[in-house]
Symmetry: C3
Subunit: 154 residues, 3 copies
């Protein structure tokens, strides 16, 4: 099995610098083997890459890429919880919030961008449960925010 960084690079992705919290909170907490990660927006190395309403300002493929960036940020932070040893990491749950209007029905398609990124990065251990919810507003006008939970082997 190739290295996580090589697998990501092959598809044009890379792990960003783990984002700093956007307020008075932590990037992750441990609870037993679970790693709870703070909500992530579509930044890369701290710079917002997409802004706006999916279906209005962004197409679904753009929103899928935005969702993948959220997942990469979550993964970078989860990496801090396993000392960069990603083989010990397993994805458990994503709750995806997609900024859209009331007529948008494709929140699951958008979230596939994040789900596929995690499977690309972690293989079978990247498979997870998720929800895909369409909401009015997100931090810094990000089109996607993802809350996530991982598990780490001792």
């Amino acid at each position: 099995m190739t290295d996580i960084h090589a697998r990501l690079k092959e598809r044009g992705f890379r792990l960003p610098v783990p984002p700093k919290p956007n307020g008075n909170y932590l990037p992750f907490v441990r609870s037993g083997r679970q790693v709870l990660v703070a909500g992530q927006t579509s930044t890369s190395d701290g710079v917002l890459q997409y802004e706006g309403i999916v279906g209005v300002d962004l197409t679904v493929p753009q929103a899928q890429h935005a969702a993948a960036l959220c997942a990469l940020n979550a993964l970078a932070i989860a990496g801090l919880a396993c000392d960069g040893d990603f083989d010990r990491l397993r994805a458990l749950r994503l709750t995806g919030f997609v900024r859209c209007g009331p007529d948008f029905a494709d929140t699951p398609l958008v979230m596939d961008g994040a789900s596929e990124l995690l499977v690309l990065a972690l293989g079978e251990r990247g498979r997870h449960v998720r929800a895909a919810v369409g909401v009015a507003a997100l931090p810094r006008r990000s089109p996607v925010e993802i809350e996530s939970t991982f598990e780490v082997d001792e």
Copy 2:
């Protein structure tokens, strides 16, 4: 104590076929004793039963039934995690997303449809914590989506 199937049938409900994921993710994951279940919409055996905006296209009683269908789907999936032995299952948390406009204040009433279903099905072990959030859009225009967590006795 009667059987879960008998208790559901008495009120006109039945456990559906566990829904397949609507994208690249899993129906449930185990983490220790916790069973994390993917977000469920108001389908029955995979067919959407309700569509639209609560308070506009659906009445509160219709939305309560839609919420009960979401809970039934979650329960059917949680049943896979305990090999159908529902006596080993306990409900922990529901996060309910109700598709509605900004003036709708009765998201808790809608979610009572799901909460009462779980208590009907599991008795005292069906009691749980929950949140009831009104949102713009949900997968496949479902009026309700419910993310849930259960616990299973070893």
Copy 3:
């Protein structure tokens, strides 16, 4: 280290009566060491203190206070799970839902009101992960609803 009640009082806060559920559910459940708390609105001793849409009916400072009230309610309920021995309590995660229109970008600022309250009350053990999501509608027209998870030392 001073007492939690003294620290809150110094900033004009106090622990409310733990809110009763607004429907057929529980205020909290235990799962291992985790304490899952039901979604809390901006009530104090059961009376809603703020109502409306943040950025329209409420300013950001008012919404921050509303978020702090949600956190106080969650804390009062978590206190039931540790028999009032708050030194055994640790905050893990807040999911904050802020009622706002599609142009509101300051959901993290609003949620800082809750995050700072938890750090004030619990010190380092009050630090947590969080998400800040802008939504259409919340129970009883509350401007903020917060779902939370704590951990308790045995």
